[in-house]
Amino acid sequence: MADDLVVVRGVTFAYEERPVLFDVDMAIPRGKVVAIMGLSGCGKTTLLRLIGGQLKPQRGDVLVDGLSVPSLGEEALYRLRRRMGMLFQMGALFTDLTVYENVAFQMREHTDLPEPLIRDLVLMKLHAVGLRGAWHLRPAELSGGMARRVALARAIALDPMLILYDEPFAGLDPISLAVIGRLIRTLNDALGATSVVVTHDVQESLKVVDYVYLMSEGRVIFSGDVAAVHASRDPYVRQFVDGRPDGPVPFHYPAPPWQEMLDHDYA
């Protein structure tokens, strides 16, 4: 167990009345890049929030570096979070700060580094995502893809041991896509970090990750390394990897039969 940085054990979670995760088990080994894939709405973001301690499971436990996240006090949780980086699905850049200040934010909040050193670090992080030249822009002046790359630079600002990426590939052009994919891999190996990548982008992520969890409707339905994904005969896996509309994975949100909905009064 000691070589798993994150362990999700029997986690069940519901937003008020709406159950989202059912008895999820996962292990994220140290030093690896692990992808969590699944259709929209299957609970991937929710799972990341559970790992980050922003939500508490109704049942089960989440361990990060041996600590049970749901039972940590505020101070201990904040100490743990200093060693985590998270890329938010919507970017969540601070709109009142420039690109530069966004990346510098945690360095200024958590360290006493002298300003010249912060400058070097920020420019290095921005260079890694190809946006060194955009340091002076405000988030409102960035395109969606650029904002995501800045958010990525911000997530890795303090060289975290665990990096959680929520949809790092969404909205990127093909070149950025390849660069960011490689960057996730390189960062992980250079920092000796562990990365969790939530994504729909099967082709791109299979190029960079070590291990894959496939989720459907709040359950883990497949897990294995990249070779196992390619070799799998499982109809769920095949449908997801090949992107076919028909198969066992439901594309539709649960709905009553057509006739019933056509007869329903929507006014």
Binding site: G52, Q54, Y78, R79, R81, R82, M84, M86, F88, M90, A92, L93, F94, T95, F105, Q106, E109, H110
Partner: protein, 270 residues
């Protein structure tokens, strides 16, 4: 339906809002305490407060100046009109100053600041929540209550009395403008009557103490509404409206209570 059932139903209907209100008040109190507890960050980094003081203060300065000038001028006109009938137009300066320093300055400044800056604070914090900026901050181990809420709260609490003092001064100037150059009240009498009647401790300081409490109320409502806004466009818009409406009601209610304590209490004792 039996009478008993009807009574039980009625009690239930009356009770539910009371319970809701009590729960809401409890939650608000807890939030208030957490803001106070997080305020050490403002002492350690006064720069955060200064930045917000600039925004809240400068946002409200123009409207405070213009409103104060007109309120003072209207007050001058109205008071002169009444007082001249008794031949006491000499004390117009005193009446204008007392009205402004005791009541109109603190109350009107508070109302103006809440609709200008309080609403802006609510909208800003609410939007930060809706766009996950507060979540992101939490994940970076930076508590949003300390980094976002507390500096705005304290900046506003400082800004309200400062702006009120400006309101008082500009309002008195407006009254002077009408009374002396326009209506011909004697300049020296205008000021000397004012100086004789307005007590620094009992009128000026009490007025500013009131405005300090108004500041606490307004800014607390603003940050509370923003921080607990539903994270959607409609949610933020509803929260902003609630900030303005509740601030107005609380300021007016609080004004009565504080005034009763300060002035009545003093007279009764004397």
């Amino acid at each position: 339906m039996t009478t008993l059932e009807r009574v039980v139903g009625l009690v239930g209907r009356l009770g539910a809002p009371v319970v809701d209100a009590a729960v809401g008040l409890g939650a608000a109190t807890r939030f208030f305490l957490s803001v106070l507890a997080a305020s050490t960050s403002c002492l350690r980094r006064p720069r955060l407060v200064v930045r917000e003081l600039y925004f809240i203060g400068v946002l409200s300065l123009a409207i405070i100046l213009v409103s104060a000038l007109f309120v003072g001028m209207v007050l001058g006109l109205q008071m002169y009109d009444t007082l001249v009938r008794f031949g006491s137009e000499d004390i117009v300066g005193m009446v204008v100053a007392l009205a402004l320093v005791r009541e109109l300055g603190p109350v009107l400044s508070a109302l103006l600041i809440s609709s200008r800056a309080g609403s802006a604070v609510t909208a800003e914090i609410g939007l930060m929540k809706a766009t996950e900026q507060l979540s992101a901050m939490e994940m970076m181990a930076v508590p949003p209550v300390a980094r976002v809420v507390a500096p705005r709260f304290w900046a506003g609490v400082l800004a309200v009395p400062l702006l009120t003092a400006i309101f008082d001064v500009v309002g008195i100037f407006g009254g002077w403008l009408v009374a002396v150059p326009l209506l011909g009240v004697d300049d020296g009498t205008f000021w000397s009557q004012m100086r004789a009647a307005v007590d620094f401790r009992l009128d000026v300081v009490n007025g500013l103490i009131k405005s300090l409490w108004f500041g606490v109320a307004i800014l607390f409502i603003a940050v509370h509404q923003g921080f607990h806004a539903e994270p959607t466009a409609e949610g933020v818009s509803r929260a902003t409206t609630r900030t303005v409406v509740r601030s107005a009601l609380v300021v007016l209610g609080l004004d009565f209570v504080l005034t009763a304590f300060m002035f009545r209490g003093f007279e009764g004792m004397g």
